[in-house]
Chain length 249, copies 2
């Protein structure tokens, strides 16, 4: 049995476009259980699919319910997302804390659901009171209104991170660093050419200058090919410099 | 001196609507330094302000640059956001790690910038190579394309959390819990009425039944007014029950 993922319940959503964008955000984080409570323009809505940007399976699998009570019937823990303070005695969690709790509940086989209110009005108090907890997204208190799909995105993101041990990049640079011998070889070549050019004079300052130059390159992760490129650069510059010296002789 | 906040640099953005939505996302997390590199439809763009949903100061303060080089000129650490692996030896960070690093750099007075590519094409390799680091958002690897404004939102969010010590809810329920004496008073009243009704029989099972009932109410944070409501409920039910008993006599 796989761990149940949070259901995303949009309560009285108005624009099909926003339903589509919410579905896209769900897809970005691997959520697929979309539930619509009394969508204003009925369902299916022709504006939803184009906005889902490819998350067709979520739009096509969406289920419609007449009430929040029906939509949450099979869930154990329900989170009401809201930007407003309610006169309601109910635990208030951050998005991160809710993400962690939902991921933990899922691993224990428990069903959770996230409630999102309509675009402008949000959830009513009668809908909010059905939730186990209130979730809010920490943000600029002077500008705290989120687009519906963006609220879905942030909650989906926090669930995803928690369910995947903090999340890892989908790719890495996979730097295969050059052996240090190659790097030292380059440094010695560089210093040799700089000695010839007179750059490392006066001689009493040479040790510090060499350390400074070495420190530029040793703190970088450098691939073997990059070290070879650097060697080529030094050779090219030094050869050019010597040829110019000859020309000017 | 306040800590510098990350600049948000949109490179060759196409739709004014997306610029507006990116500005709104910036406003949600207190960012305000918006820079546009060669916006396709010029600047100002009449579609931007309506989509900013009130983040007018960000749109009005946006600055236009001819190139990424110009846009990042005053920055020390530049992050290229990308969903694609590049053949480029450069550190790859998650959004969270980048948020933490940007917040730390800001506290040290260092200027950072986030580069976002055009809607469909993203950043070119020649633009990406100008960045200090690559940032990527952990997500469903099979559905990893983010809308421009949503990528701005998630990076802004992680910076905000890191800059505000993990973020706290903008409001709390501020439960002022009832003194335990009030709760115990309610429980004793309930048990008294249940004794009268015969609910707690047989007597040898009474201790366990009482513990079970007490455990329902003691693990809840209950406000004083809620305890009073519960007492009223018990009284109302008991009085109604006794009156019905009399009627049926």
């Amino acid at each position: 049995m796989t761990a149940p993922k949070p259901a995303v319940i949009l309560v009285r959503p108005q624009l099909g476009e926003n339903i589509g964008k919410a579905a896209r955000a769900m897809g970005n984080f691997g959520l697929d259980d979309l539930r619509l409570v009394a969508p204003r323009d009925g369902w299916p809505n022709p504006d939803a699919l184009p906005s889902a940007a490819g998350a067709d399976w979520i739009i096509e699998g969406a289920r419609v319910f007449a009430s929040v009570e029906d939509a949450i019937a099979d869930c154990e823990i329900v989170y009401a997302t809201t930007a407003r303070r309610r006169d309601m005695v109910k635990p208030v969690l951050t998005a991160k804390a809710a993400g962690a709790e939902m991921a933990g509940a899922g691993k224990a086989g428990r069903r959770t659901a996230l409630l999102f209110g309509a675009e402008a009005a949000g959830l009513s108090n009668d809908e909010t009171v059905l939730a186990t907890r209130i979730v809010t997204i920490p943000c600029n208190p002077d500008f705290s209104s989120f687009n519906l799909a963006q609220a879905v995105l942030l909650l989906g993101y926090e669930w995803f991170l928690a369910a995947h041990d903090g999340g890892t990049p989908n790719f890495t640079a996979e730097i295969e660093e050059a052996p240090r011998a190659e790097l030292v070889g380059f440094l010695e070549q560089l210093e040799d050419e700089l000695d010839r050019s007179g750059f490392l004079l006066p001689i009493e300052k040479r040790p510090q200058m060499v350390r400074n130059i070495r420190n530029i390159f040793t703190r970088l992760p450098l691939a073997l090919q990059e070290v070879r490129t650097l060697r080529g650069i030094v050779t090219a510059l030094a050869v050019y410099g010597r040829s110019r010296d000859k020309t000017s002789e």
